[in-house]
């Protein structure tokens, strides 16, 4: 018996009306593993992440996080979400709150951490990611890269077991991508379990323990980055990677 997986998806189906976005996803993520989801837009990467965070309800199958089936009937979604951090493409910081308040809101209100402790934790995180001088700023005074780093810190402040990153660099100017990727690398080095949807192939190859290639709602192929990028088995994977290389993104 191997260790209990951090995340387990079995036969996950999800449709929006007529449109079946996930057509039976099986995926196992071990503790401290970093898994990158690659594939064209619309292949189901984001929907998959949103289903794990219970933002979307799955139609069939099951999702198990650290041994608990979170898609079972009667599970408190709020409790599950507190253990799973998600960061979106569009940052979604709260514009009427300072950086510090953005980060401490959920620990204080959802976990009941007292203010002094929540702020101490938040400052420690900000310091680690070079954002301490921004703690009293409002989000629209920050660059996109800084905002996204704050969004990551905000998710980390809940001390999640699992981080889901949904195209976190796609809305950034190219020169701001590196600072965000550096933060994610730092998290990987510390052993954070992560499921990352990304278009940054170089980054995925660099950081991932495993790559999953999604196409039309199915995982067509998965494996070590080196193998996926150098010797993809499935013709669709080869096609996809060829297009990426053509576009100069790898």
């Amino acid at each position: 018996m191997s260790e209990q997986p951090a995340l387990l998806l079995e036969g996950v189906h999800k449709s929006f009306g007529e449109n079946e976005v996930l057509k039976g996803i099986d995926l196992r993520v071990e503790p401290h593993e970093v898994v990158c989801l690659i594939g064209a837009s619309g292949s189901g990467k984001s929907t998959l992440l949103r289903c794990v965070n219970l933002v979307e309800q799955i139609d069939s199958g099951r999702v198990v996080v650290a041994g608990e089936e979170i898609t079972a009937e009667g599970v408190d979604a709020n409790r599950i979400r507190r253990r799973i951090g998600i960061v979106y493409q569009s940052f979604n910081l709260f514009p009427h709150m300072t950086v510090l308040r953005n980060i401490t809101l959920a620990p204080r209100e959802a976990l009941g951490t007292d203010r002094a402790e929540a702020e101490k934790d938040a400052r420690a995180l900000l310091e680690r990611f070079g954002l301490l001088d921004k703690q009293e700023e409002y989000p629209d005074r920050l660059s996109g890269g800084q905002q996204q780093r704050v969004a990551i810190v905000r998710a980390l402040a809940m001390r999640p077991h699992l981080m889901l990153l949904d195209e976190v660099t796609s809305a950034l100017d190219p020169e701001l991508v590196a600072e965000v990727l550096a933060v994610i690398k730092e998290l990987a080095r510390e052993g954070m379990t992560m499921l990352i949807a990304t278009h940054e192939m170089g980054f995925a190859r660099d950081i991932a323990d495993r790559i999953c290639f999604l196409e039309a709602g199915r995982i067509l192929e998965q494996g070590k980055p080196d193998r996926i990028f150098t010797a993809p088995e499935h013709p669709r994977t080869r096609q996809f990677l060829a297009r990426i290389i053509e576009a100069g993104r790898l």
């Binding site: 933002v55 709020n78 979106y88 709260f94 959802a110 005074r141 905000r154």
Partner: protein, 258 residues
């Protein structure tokens, strides 16, 4: 400006301008109606009642309207009856003219013989009517504000494990209310003026006091005085809101401690 200039010229050059000057703008009557005399109530004194009605109503309106707006936005089939009540409320009280609500509350409730509820002062029935009607309008203003906050804000809050109510309270409503301050103020200026309608229940507020003065002195200067008082109190309110908006903008742009 040109508009006011034309009006002024018309008034001054009109054949009856002398009579109007005496009837509406006589300094003696302006002053006398303002401060009152033995026979007539002071318009200024009576205006304080308008201010009181306004202040008290405003507080209740802000609260009741927010409740209506929030109830209207609760999703899920279980809450359908609550949503229905909220919708029916806004439809009803936005549709009925305030003066009719005043008559129905002011003369109807005392007639019901409901113990102390039927023996409240006239002004109280006036306040209740204003609250009922204006809450329906203000609820719609709140609702527009709530809907203007992008769904991704709520999604971000819920993803962090905040409950629906926490997300509303800490993330959605603060942003919504900030955005609707100018339209809210607009409604409150309307409210300030409509406090004059409470006079139909017998309360002697500024408009009623002005009427009493004009009836006994055959002079309309009291109406001018009452009008000026309403204008005077509106202007600070408008400037105050401008300042709130400016401060908020500055704070977000400057970042930091303000």
């Amino acid at each position: 400006m040109l508009f006011f200039a034309i009006i002024a010229v018309v008034v001054v050059l009109a054949p009856g301008s002398g009579v109007v000057a005496e009837r509406f703008f006589s300094p003696q009557h302006l002053w006398q109606s303002l401060v009152g005399s033995e026979g007539e109530p002071s318009v200024l004194g009576a205006f304080l009642l308008n201010v009181k009605i306004f202040m008290v109503s405003e507080v209740f309106i802000l609260i009741l309207a927010l409740i209506i707006a929030v109830v209207r936005g609760i999703p899920g089939p279980v809450f359908f009856p609550f949503r229905l009540v909220a919708v029916a409320y806004t439809d009803l009280f936005r549709g009925v003219p305030l003066i009719l609500v005043l008559y129905m509350i002011g003369f109807g409730v005392p007639g019901l013989g409901l113990g102390f509820v039927s023996y409240l002062p006239d002004v109280t029935y006036g306040v209740i009517s204003l609250v009922l009607v204006y809450s329906a309008y203000v609820a719609e203003v709140y609702r527009a504000g709530i809907e203007s906050v992008h769904e991704s804000q709520n999604a971000a809050a819920r993803s962090l494990g905040l409950t629906r109510w926490q997300s509303l309270r800490f993330v959605v409503l603060p942003q919504a209310i900030r955005r609707v301050i100018p339209p809210l103020l607009n409604d409150f200026i309307g409210l300030q003026k409509d406090t004059a309608l409470v006079s139909v229940l017998g309360s002697i507020e500024a408009a009623r006091a002005a009427q009493i003065y004009s009836a006994s002195q055959f002079n309309y200067a009291s109406y001018v005085v009452a009008a000026l008082l309403f204008v005077l109190i509106t202007i600070p309110l408008a400037r105050f809101t401008d300042r709130l908006i400016a401060r908020d903008k500055r704070r977000r742009e400057a970042g930091g401690l303000a």
